[in-house]
């Protein structure tokens, strides 16, 4: 199914509205507030659900509990000063956040990035994707009641990757690594060796994970046919990332936008054809394998050279008035930073396009008519981090 085909198809009026659910009998509806302290909400998030028995009739997502004023803070701060705050948006994938922000500022100032820095960015970005996808699968299994085991297996591998991050950037999760025009510190040969060693072990982990969960009957019974998201709705709602590809739409910014050096790597884009929770689970597993392939290729090809543009200034620069939008394929979807400069040392407007928030907007459409227990699962399959939703 191609994008243009989907968009130009004739559709009945109101096709993109959530179906209106009517209660079965004359029983009263039960209104339940799931969250903000519900164990399934990955933070502080509330779903106001109206139930007829077990069936979901209405669902209203309520967010904003973790609002930290990120965008306004960034407008009063130098360009460099916002970099550590981007770590705290999607705190599982700090390096891809750094990357998207650095890309936006580089577009604004017209800075070049040396080749070695691009390779380092790809290696770290894909390792981040592996961390995110493995732990999000673990969380999904936990929401099905597999309390701990798959998540702990995922965290065991994540720990190895986080050790790599720490030995390069100094911090496990709040890396603050990328700079406008390159990266902050160079990777030593010892670090690259350690990274290759970790990456060699990763396909075994993916196999183990698939063996553990892939054909599990309980998982299949809970996930298959649940939370269906039709591709046309996904496109119109602006869904991106694994969610969109699980709905069968071939759209990966690494392939379509050609940012960085992704053209040089050989990888495939997995697509779903049932559009349900199981597809989303499986897409993440397959993407994890593709990411391992990309890291392997990048580690093999990484050239020697500088990691910072020699003309780059990290502080005290004033970009020319103008605007720039830098976007990357983050682990959760399209992560974009939109900046307007008025020629001053700090941005006039700073806007984040968070994939988590936009992927969350179709939660009601996916949940209507399903059981309460499935709401938790569908919500888990969206894969959000509240730090990014509320900012």
């Amino acid at each position: 199914m191609t994008l243009s085909h989907l968009l130009h198809e004739k559709k009945p009026a109101g096709w993109n509205r959530p179906p209106v659910m009517e209660p079965d009998g004359d029983a009263e509806l039960l209104e339940v507030a799931m969250g903000p302290h519900h164990p399934s909400t990955h933070g502080v998030f509330r779903m106001d659900v109206a139930l007829d028995g077990e069936r979901v009739i209405r669902l209203k997502p309520v967010f904003g509990y973790l609002h930290r004023n990120h965008e306004k803070l960034a407008e009063g701060m130098t360009y460099l000063g916002s970099m550590p705050f981007t770590d705290r948006l999607d705190y599982i994938c700090s390096l891809t956040n750094n990357w998207a922000y650095a890309l936006a500022v580089e577009k604004l100032t017209g800075q070049e990035v040396p080749e070695r820095a691009e390779y380092l960015r790809v290696i770290l970005g894909e390792l981040t994707r592996i961390v995110n996808h493995s732990s999000s699968i673990g969380f999904l299994a936990q929401e099905m009641g597999a309390s701990g085991t798959p998540l702990m297996y995922a965290f065991r591998e994540r720990e190895k990757i986080l050790d790599l991050f720490e030995s390069l950037t100094g911090s496990r999760m709040m890396c603050n690594y990328m700079r406008f025009g390159g990266c902050r510190v160079d990777a030593s040969p010892a670090w690259l060796d350690a990274a290759s060693k970790v990456v060699t072990g990763l396909p075994g982990f993916a196999d183990e994970f698939e063996q553990l969960l892939g054909s599990n009957e309980i998982l299949m019974a809970r996930c298959q046919g649940v939370g269906i998201l039709r591709p046309e709705l996904a496109i119109n709602a602006g869904i991106t990332g694994p969610m969109l590809r699980a709905s069968g739409v071939n759209y990966d910014i690494r392939k379509v936008d050609h940012y960085g050096i992704y053209d040089r790597f050989n990888f495939r884009v997995p697509l779903g054809d049932h559009w349900d929770v199981y597809d989303r689970f499986m897409i993440r597993l397959l993407e994890l394998r593709e990411s391992i392939k990309i890291v392997e290729q990048a580690l093999k090809d990484i050239p020697a050279g500088p990691i910072m543009d020699s003309k780059a200034k990290i502080r005290g620069f004033r970009p020319k008035p103008g605007e720039a939008y830098g976007r990357i394929e983050g682990p959760k979807g399209e992560l974009g930073f939109y900046l307007i400069s008025d020629g001053g040392p700090n941005p006039y407007r700073y806007r984040v396009r968070p994939p988590s928030l936009i992927n969350l907007t179709i939660l009601e459409d996916m949940c209507l008519g399903s059981n309460v227990a499935d709401v938790v699962l569908i919500f888990g399959s969206v894969d959000i981090v509240l730090g990014e939703v509320d900012r």
Binding site: L80, S171, R184, V185, E217, M220
Partner: protein, 216 residues
Amino acid sequence: MLGEGILKGLAETARNFVGSYVSKERMTTVQYPEERIAPIEATRDFPFLVYDGGDWQAGMRCVACQICEKECPPKCIYIEKSKDKKPDALGKPQFYPAKFDIDISVCMSCQICVEVCPFEAIKMDTEFELSTTDRFGGLLLDRHQLAKSNQHYHHIHPTEAAEVDARLAGEKAKTNAKAKAAADAAAAKSAAPDTKAVAPPAKVVAPVVKPESQEA
């Protein structure tokens, strides 16, 4: 067969369970207060001020230029510049911080102060067991508490500290050579004051402004 997938998964968990007794790599946790994993060299948490030599006040590298205070994203640094000057490592009189406070309950360990410091005066520590019963005063560190010796820096980040020392030694040599050349020129000029050769105005000490370091 129904249940085959579950059995496959259980076989995997059994393999991991047995493996944890056999293979050391599968034992991924340690009993923390008794056992400790050696810290990773690049690790960072809160900043400290480096001093050379034995006396923390005399050897303080910080010249109270206040760049870190301006650049600190959560604004956790407070500096007051001194009224008088003291000689720095190169013998040049410099200001020093009369007050240098870091509120580590606000600090977010981003290392930007280290990156922007042109004098290699502020570095990241690795001390993480900082819990205290005093919520405000105990986490507001003054310049005495922040001052730590260059030896300490060498102890926690050996590679990085060696690079920094080499860089500082190079600068010192350069400054000394420049000063010597200037002194020589001045001496030559005073020896032969009538020559028409246009000698550049003698500078006793060259300014010690160093290009911003890209990495800490």
